[in-house]
Amino acid sequence: MLFNSIDFAIFLPIVFVLYWFVVNKNLKLQNFLIVVASYVFYAWWDWRFLSLIMFSTLVDYLVGISLAKQEHAVRRKMLLWTSILINIGFLCFFKYYNFFIDNFITAFSFFGYKIQPNSLNIILPVGISFYTFQTLSYSIDVYRRKLVPTADFIAFSAFVSFFPQLVAGPIERATNLLPQFYKKRSFHYGKAVDGLRQILWGLFKKIVIADNCAEVVNQIFNNTGDFSGSTLVVGAVLFAFQIYGDFSGYSDIAIGTSRLFGFDLKQNFAFPYFSRDIAEFWRRWHISLSTWFRDYLYIPLGGSRGSKFQQIRNVFIIFVVSGFWHGPNWTFIVWGALNALYFLPLLLGSKNRKHIEIVAQGKWLPTIKEILLILSTFALTTLAWVFFRADNLSHAWSFISEIFSYSLFTIPQIQPKILSILILFMLLIEWSGREELYGIERFGITWKKPYRYAFYYTIVFLIFLFSGEEQEFIYFQF
């Protein structure tokens, strides 16, 4: 079920009413309703893959219980590895099997050997990368004794399958989300209104910005050879806004929906396009994934400690793995490696934590230097996004080669004027709300009712006016 579908517009109020009016007096029933609703939400796409979620839930629940009872270090490690191997095993099979087989064949044929292993026609279960990482975080945290394992199977199932963030995150840590299923939740007016406001802003970013960018981006990326360098730049820039609107929009809807049910999810995007360097960008983009990799991969590898070689190795590993997490394609790996290259000078110069505070905090406008830094960071990320969006490496290469040709200095063949105004509108709103958790949060707090409502209606009308075919969220494919 898509958040931007009529199905969800019917599903959400039904679950909301059942949750707060029918089962509100019993915490276990509330959690059970969340599990059922989440399974319905997931089954809307393909019910067959529910078994995967259920199996993953059962394995990690049992591993958690066993870890609590087990004191023997080797046996504890074996239990942890059972969880890791089963979860990563599913992920590798469904997501990477054909990629490894294809590259295996290519590598062998390079040395003159011809092998013909079978490729399988595998459907990628939606959200597998997200819920796999979420359950893994539980097993690892229990193993590290950071979290007491739960004996409540319903609460654990609800944590794994919680529908607002099941298929595209944010990837919640068990330490943050799981305890919320143990506590009695009471309806809080301010929180619910805030949730609706965040949903509204998420829908705007998805339907108005991302989906409209998608039309132009697809046209340009699918016919790269027909366009001038300047037009390709338009395509690359619009893709940067498409993926931001798409994914941060999804996260806003997920977080807002969770708030309607009394849950607090962590912020997943913190206005990344206002970053002044790549390190800051990665602290603000897909925060739940970046911090997951930081805590469960980067730090165990040694993080920024050790020799220069080790530091460089760790940075490359985390970025390449992060790229590979997005999909079985070399384009994602190169995208990750390119970001590692951007990051390295900052790390080696110990400048990776230079921009911790919010840009131009407490001021209306940034300084010229800040503007230049923001623009240069945006240009670098946009260049990397070309690899992310391209079909394959040669497509990405031809796209970039054409950008850096004489035709860069011509007038773009495509000039999406209305879309540019809408993007500018989004950027202005996000700039003014950059000190909050999401773009329009401050309007809900500081503006007077008539202005606030006029603003909400404007956003709602823009959403309706620019809605058309429901476009899938990009991150569903990951």
């Binding site: 309806f187 309706f464 006016l465 620019f466 058309g468 075919e469």
Partner: protein, 310 residues
């Protein structure tokens, strides 16, 4: 909780009211200003789908305007004709394509499927009455909900550009270049001819709207003819021929039927088994023009004259 529900309810209610007002206002404005006027010499008009769209080259037929549009069903033709006839009193004769695939239940999807509704509803929303809107809504409520905002956008763009001229956007002769008949026949020889029992079923809705069109034309004192454009004898669509003849006899016996199905053409004059390419259209249109000039419509045995000429 009560306060929250109340606020959400009123917010939604106000939104629905505003939305309805915008729909009605834009529809009324566009409806009042819509321009469907054609040249004063045009006395014959033709409506249909892709087959007549590719067959009747109206630049070669005197006083004739082809309004056919690929995939158009009688439901949308009805919306179009309601505007064209009152705005063009010079029109004397209306030709309506009446062919095998137009009456099949398969045509239903062209009325209310997401794809076709998105394509046509915004264009004709301003001219549809409540009954037609309810019809679409009951058939595909989700699709209908999705096209409503698109129709507002469509109307707003028209209003912004002050462009209410519809004629060049609602159909016309299509110059088809392709010549795929031989390759299609070759494939068919290998794979065989498929029979689809579902295709044989009639579309109740399409027949209903055809009746409404005929009724409307009569009320406007126009002569109505059902026509069938030429198509290849191997066309798969001909498998409901019996049903078509029966329907013609039962429901439209009083309406004259001009059948050009067997008009002689080479494979190279077809774009595929169902559509004439520009060569075929040229040959057929010139022939049809001569026939019209010789007074086909005034003669008593029209079909006999056609068959004799074919």
């Amino acid at each position: 909780m009560k306060k929250f529900i109340k606020q959400v309810f009123f917010f939604t209610l106000i939104f629905c009211c505003l939305f309805t007002c915008i729909i009605l206002t834009t529809n009324i404005i566009v409806n009042n200003k819509a321009d469907f006027k054609i040249s004063k010499e045009k006395k014959y008009v033709l409506f249909g789908h892709s087959q007549p769209e590719c067959a009747f080259n109206d630049s070669l037929i005197s006083n004739f305007k082809n309004f056919s549009n690929a995939g158009e069903t009688y439901f949308y033709t009805f919306q179009k004709i309601k505007q064209i006839l009152p705005q063009n009193p010079q029109i004397e004769t209306v030709f309506l394509e009446f062919t095998n695939n137009k009456i099949s239940i398969w045509a239903d999807k062209d009325i209310w499927s997401n794809k076709y509704m998105r394509l046509r509803y915004p264009r004709y929303a301003s001219f549809m009455n409540l009954e037609d809107n309810l019809f679409l809504m009951t058939k595909n409520v989700k699709g209908y909900a999705k096209v409503l905002p698109i129709s507002i956008k469509y109307n707003l763009i028209r209003m912004k550009l002050n462009d209410y001229f519809y004629i060049n956007k609602i159909g016309g002769y299509k110059y088809l270049v392709r010549k795929k008949t031989d390759s299609i026949l070759k494939t068919m020889n290998k794979t065989g001819f498929s029979i689809y029992p579902e295709y044989q079923k009639m579309s109740v809705h399409e027949i209903h709207y055809l009746e409404k069109i005929i009724q409307f034309c009569k009320e406007m004192n126009k002569k109505v003819y059902l026509v069938r454009s030429p198509y290849h004898k191997k066309s798969f669509y001909s498998q409901n021929e019996e049903a078509l003849q029966l329907l013609k006899k039962q429901k439209f016996d009083t309406i004259k039927f001009l059948d050009f199905k067997d008009f002689p053409l080479d494979n190279s004059e077809y774009g595929d088994l169902d559509h004439l390419n520009h060569k075929g259209a040229k040959k057929f249109s010139k022939w049809f023009n001569t026939l019209l000039k010789k007074g086909l419509l005034d003669s008593i045995n029209k079909q006999q004259i056609i068959d004799k000429k074919i």
